[in-house]
Symmetry: D3
Subunit: 128 residues, 6 copies
C-alpha cells in the first residue's frame, strides 16, 4: 500500500515535470534523500492522486497557496508543472495577481517577480 502511494505519486509527478521529476537538484536532497521520498508519497501519493478533484484544479490551488505563503522557490517549480498540464500563462498571472487581495500587495509582487522568470512576457509587449 505504501508502494501504491509511491507509485501513484510518481505518476502525478511525471505529468507535472516529466521523467526527470525527482532528480537530485537541491542541496537538501544530498543531506536528507529519504525526506524527499516521504514527502512525495505524502503530497503526490496521498493527496494529488486522489479522485474527486481534477489535476488542473489541484495545480492552480497549489500555485495559489505557494504564492500566498511566499514560497517563491517551490512556486517556480509548480508554475512549470502547471504549464505542462496545459494551464496557460495568462491564467497563472491571474491567480498571482488575485493573491494581492488575500495575502497583501507585497506578497503578490514577490510572486509575480518570481513568476517572471518562468512565464515569458507576451511578445506583443502587452503583458497580462
Amino acid at each position: 500500500m505504501a508502494d501504491d502511494f509511491l507509485m501513484r505519486g510518481v505518476e502525478v509527478t511525471k505529468k507535472l515535470w516529466g521523467e526527470r521529476a525527482g532528480g537530485q537538484e537541491f542541496p537538501a536532497q544530498k543531506l536528507a534523500p529519504e525526506f524527499f521520498m516521504r514527502v512525495a508519497e505524502f503530497c503526490f501519493g496521498m493527496f494529488w492522486s486522489r479522485p474527486n478533484l481534477d489535476l488542473r484544479s489541484r495545480s492552480l490551488c497549489t500555485v495559489a497557496q505557494l504564492a500566498a505563503l511566499g514560497k517563491t522557490d517551490e512556486l517556480k517549480g509548480h508554475l512549470v508543472g502547471a504549464l505542462n498540464l496545459g494551464i496557460t500563462r495568462d491564467e497563472l498571472v491571474e491567480v498571482l495577481m488575485q493573491t494581492a487581495c488575500y495575502a497583501g500587495v507585497p506578497t503578490a509582487v514577490s510572486a509575480l517577480n518570481a513568476a517572471a522568470e518562468i512565464l515569458k512576457p507576451r511578445s506583443d509587449g502587452k503583458g497580462s
Copy 2:
C-alpha cells in the same frame, strides 16, 4: 470607471452570495463602512471580474489561499460562495486536505474544522 469596478464587483458577488451580498453583518462594517466598498471594488471589481480565468478557478484558488493563511472566517464565506457556483462539497474537501502539504497539518485541520460548519458530512457517513 470606478463605477465600472464597483458594478463589475457587485455582479461577481451576486454570483457568489446572491442579492444579500454586502449586507452589513460584521462589527467592522459599522466602524468602517467605506472600507468594505473599497475592498469590494478592489477584490471583485479589479481582479475577480477580469477575463482570462474562470470563476470556478478563482473560487477554488481563494478557498485554497484562505485555508493556507488560516483565515477561517473568510474561508467559511468563500466556501458558501463556492457551493453557489456549483463546486461540490467533495471538491472543496480535497482542496482543504491538500493544504496540509504546503501549509502544514495544523493549518489544514483548522480549515477542515471550519469547513465542517458549512459542508455537511455525507449522509452515508463516509466523509470524503
Copy 3:
C-alpha cells in the same frame, strides 16, 4: 541598570494604561509571572522608552504591526493605550484600513472587527 529598564518601562505603561497596567489578568500571568516582568523590561524599558521617536509614533506603529500580524488580543490592548495617548478613533481606523494593502483584506477585516469592540462607532452613524 536593569532596575532602570524596569522603571522606565513602568513609566511608559502608565502613560498607556494608567496605574493598573501590569495587573494580573491573563491565565498566562499565573503560569509564568516572571515572564511578564521580563517582557515589560524588554518592550517598554529597552525600546518604547528610548529617545529619537515620540510615543505617538511608537503607538501607531505597534497598532499597525499587531494588526498586520493578526494578534487581535494585544491589538485591543494597544488601541486602548493609543486612545489614552490622545490618538483619535478616526486615526486608528485609518491605520487598520490601510493594513489591507500590506497584509491582505482578511487580516484588515479581522483587525477592524476586533477594533469595533474598543472604538465606538460615531454617533452620527457615518462610521469612518
Copy 4:
C-alpha cells in the same frame, strides 16, 4: 510498508496520548476521516518514529513549533503528550517563554494562555 508506517505511527501516538489517541473528536474528523489516517502515517509513521532523535526531543520541538506558529489548539494536545512522556510542566513553560525571542511577545503570550488550560500553576503560587 504503508502498513508499517501506520503501525509505527500508532505506536508513537499511544506513547503520547494512550489508547484513545485518534478518537474521532473534531468536526473535521467526520468531514474527512481518511485525512487523519494519512497525516498520522505521515507525521508519526514517517517522522516521529524514525531513529536518530529521542521522543523527548521530538516532543519539545513540536511544542516549540506549534507555539511559534500560533497553532494553540494543537499545542494543547501536544502539551498533554509531552507531560505523558515525562517532560515536566516547568520545562514546557520554559520552551513557551523562550518563544518570545523568536516569534515575538504576543505569540508567546498566546501560547502561555493556551498552556494555562493544560499546565496547572504550582500550588505554592510561585508560577514558573
Copy 5:
C-alpha cells in the same frame, strides 16, 4: 471616480518617490503591467490619500508593517519614501528595532539588515 483614485494615488507616490515613481523596474511589471496600476489605485488612491491621518504616520505604519511581515524588498522602497517625507534615519531605526517586540528578534534583524542598505550609518560611528 476611478480616475480620481488614480490621480490621488499619483499625487501621493510623487511625494514619496518623486516623478519617477511607478517606473517599470521589476520583472513583474513587464509580466503584469495593469496589476501595478490597480494596486497603486488601491493603496495610494483609496487609502493613503484619505484624510484623517497624516502622511508621516501612514509612512511610519507602512514601514512598521513591512518590517513585521518580513517584506524586505518593499521595506527598502518605503524607507526611501519615508526619508523623502522628512522622517529621519534615527526615527526609522527606532521603528525597526521595536519590531523585535512584536514580530521576534530574527524579523527585526532582517529588517535592520535590509535598512542598512538605505540608511547610512552615522559618520560618527555611533549608530542609533
Copy 6:
C-alpha cells in the same frame, strides 16, 4: 541586575559560538549596535540562561522554531551553535525533516537547503 542579564547572556553565547560571539558581522550591527546588546540580554540573559531547561533542549527548540518560521539566516547560526553543544548532525536533520508536519513541506525544504551549507552530508553518501 541588568549587568547580570548581560553577563549571563554572554556566558550562554560563549557556549554556543565561542569567544567571537557577538562580533560585528551584519550590516545591521553598524546601523543599530545597541540593539544587539539589548536582544542578547533579552534572549540569552533573560531566557536561555534560566534554570529548569537544559541548553541542549533550548538549542533544539530554537532550531525547530527558526526552521518553522522560515528564518534561514538565523537558523544557520543556531545550527553551528547546536553542533558546538554536541548535538549531532543527524539529530538536527531529524528536527528539520519533522518541520514538514507542522509548517508544511516547502518550509522544511528551505530549512534543509539552508542546513546543507552547515551540516556536511555524510561521506558514505547515505545522507540521513
